[in-house]
């Protein structure tokens, strides 16, 4: 047991306590958290900096406004309902308009107008928000994901997570929904996580459950060696996020839209540690290298170059 802990430490694998004590607590100031915990603020911030985000159709702030829902989604065939302060993808609904005023979920089941209103009310009363405080509901553009993912994702929306430390992208992965994960891009629930080589933007080994996989279990297409489109833009977004929020250690969630390119979905001040499993590598050593070299890493270009040079896995 002690030996296992030592070998993990040598491999630089970050544990929750380590992440909290040495990174999030020290580099993320509490007062900046609302910028990322509230997706509405994140969106405004990103737009101001010229970074693309999914188009906001409307916001519901109080229960009375739930009846405005049909007006907000009028003219849109598909949309996403999400809590402004949700975490870990909780409470997010991806819907398409279906027959007889019903809404179709990605898994093919239907939801009625009343059920949608109930879900909206739940979000407002805060069951998905971090501290349980009342929340807002965002209704926004449903991403039409890039065709490259159609072959390696099942139903849901695949997204790319990049961890950035002091503005340097240090690790990245793409999360691919499976039948088992119910279309959710959450590794806990059975989504595939594939590490990405920061230098080339190609996927490395993919992890599904506790094992390594080469092909997607539902589509049977290869999931390793896939080149992520727009990779330089993704790195650029990740590097700029530091100036955007001021948070030293953060996770950037990006989706690739067929027509609009990379869109920032959300930022995360306490990004999870599963990315290490997807990359089969620890974060600790990479973070130390960034810390040691931080004085020479002023501009966005310097930081991206540092990442591509130092964190290539090939």
């Amino acid at each position: 047991m002690i030996g296992l802990a030592r070998r993990l430490r040598e491999a630089g694998v970050l544990g929750l306590n380590w992440r909290n004590a040495e990174y999030t607590l020290l580099y993320n100031q509490r007062r900046l958290y609302p910028l990322v915990d509230d997706k509405l603020q994140t969106k405004e911030l990103a737009l101001k900096a010229g970074i693309a985000v999914p188009d906001l159709y409307g916001v519901i702030e109080v229960q009375r406004e739930v009846r405005n829902l049909p007006q907000i989604i009028a003219g849109h065939d598909a949309f996403v309902v999400k809590p402004a302060q949700g975490s870990g993808g909780k409470g997010i609904l991806v819907l398409e308009k279906g027959p007889r005023g019903l809404y179709r979920k990605p898994n093919g089941s239907f939801m009625s107008e009343a059920e949608l209103a109930y879900h909206t009310g739940n979000i407002l009363s805060g069951i998905y928000s971090l501290g349980g405080q009342p929340d807002k509901v965002l209704i926004e553009y449903r991403v039409n994901f890039d065709p490259i993912f159609a072959r390696i994702a099942y139903q849901g929306v695949p997204d790319i997570r990049i961890i950035s430390f002091l503005g340097v992208p240090v690790m990245a992965m793409v999360r691919l929904p499976t039948r088992q994960s119910g279309g959710k891009a959450n590794l806990h629930q059975g989504a595939i996580g594939a590490g990405i080589d920061l230098s080339t933007g190609r996927t490395l080994t993919a992890v599904w459950g506790n094992g390594v996989v080469d092909t997607h279990p539902d589509t049977l297409n290869p999931v390793t060696g896939v080149e992520i489109p727009h990779w330089p833009a993704l790195l650029d977004h990740a590097a700029r996020s530091w100036e955007l929020t001021g948070l030293g250690y953060q996770g950037i969630d990006i989706v690739l839209d067929r027509d609009l390119g990379p869109l920032i979905l959300e930022l995360n001040a306490r990004p999870g540690l599963n990315i290490q499993i997807a990359n089969r590598a620890g974060l600790g050593h990479r973070l130390e290298r960034v810390k040691a070299a931080r004085d020479g890493l002023k501009t966005v270009e310097e930081r991206i170059a540092f990442a591509r040079e130092n964190f290539a896995t090939a």
């Binding site: 070998r7 993990l8 544990g15 909290n20 004590a21 209103a117 009310g121 499993i277």
Partner: protein
Amino acid sequence: MNNRHLYWLAGVLAAIAFAIFGYKVLILKFPVTPDRLETAWRIEARIDFNARGGPVLGEFLLPRSTTTRPVFNEAFVAGPYGIATRDAGDNRAAVFSVAEADGPQTIFYRATVELAPANETPPPSPTPSLNRIPMNEAELAAARALLAKLRPRAAGVPTLMGLLITNLRNARAGDEASLLLGNSRSTRRIVDTAIKVLRQGGIPARRVNGFALAEDRRQIGVAHWIEVYVEDRWLPFQATDGAAGVPPRHFPWWRGEHNAVTITGADRPHITYSVAMAHQFALRAALERGRSIGVSLTDFSLFGLPFQTQQVYRILLVVPVGIFLLVLLRNVIGLRTFGTFMPVLIAMAFRETRLVWGIVLFSIVVFLGISVRFYLEHLKLLLVPRLAAIVIVVIGVMALLSVVSFKLGFMGGLSVALFPIVILTMTIERMTVVWDERGAMEAIIQAAGSLVVAIFCYLLMNARIVEHLTFVFPELLLVLLAGILLLGRYSGYRLTELGRFRVLAGKDPR
């Protein structure tokens, strides 16, 4: 981040704690283990009454200190009242008075007592006068008939007592015993009736009122037994079966067939007694030693508080120990629980329910709560009204459990009322959300995890040594505080993470 400040702070806290602890153990000789606890008891009497606005004069009966039953550390807390003790026949009495008082009044009396050895022989005492209690003709006839029936079968007072009490206990409608007893069959009624009959037969007898000293109790009922004058001594007999001797572990407080308190100038006098195992028996010498060398430490300790408050702190002071364990289990082991401190609160409830009943009741309440919560899901209620509805359901389920288990004779079910209702409600709500989002398995795993943590907390918090140490040496809380501060900067792996990240460890070089 420089941790030196933290280490320094934790070190100072621990040093202060161990300095006080060491001083108390080495110099004042406070006992470190809870031994010899049952030999001494602290009794507190609380007298409440409503003064009518004029002078108040009252009398309260106290135990007499004898060599086998010493009464020490006596104290009154009586506000403006003047207090004097005097001899009052069979008893000792405290007389309290004030020239003018209005509204609710409270007087406290407390003392530490010891239980006499079981086979104690009472000291000789002068022959008492035989005050026959007036009876009507029917009662008189019944008493005489009963005595005439029992006396020939008895070989002496002890056997007569056995026969008399058994006769009264088994009174059937229509016989002498039932006529004498009237409607009541309470122990007190049986004791008083036996005394009436004995005195009628020329045998001096009196009622003894006292307490069972068996466990810590906030409000304890008065117990009764009988003393009969045989030859030149008052011999005790139990009111259950007339067996000789004081009932086991009982302490006599006052003697006589009247109440312990009489007041003029006030209404509704009411006494409540609480009993606490006096850790300070072994501690008494230590406390006295501290006082004699002029150390005010003991005066400012928890022992200076009224009993009822002491009882509360006895429970409160073990909470930090449970919290410390919880921090360890969450941040070092990596167990996940519903709600940060929920397991500690459940563990506190377990103290009253006992472990097995606690687990059974907790599972039933949560199971029924979840069933109702899933039903409410169909009604599409908003969050706060839904939580309110679950609170009501939880209370209803608890009341129902108490009633059903009482009817079935399981006393354990009554203590369900001590569960923290709001905490249970939040647990049910969160469990349902996890159930929806992550599946039933995850929800049940987390609930079981919470329960396991609660059980560990209970086992630790309920250990006698833990209760003793935290109450006698509250300064040890500073050690816990220091430990928790250090854990706040623990950046090593959690035990569960070792499994989670095992694949990243590479091959074992060996």
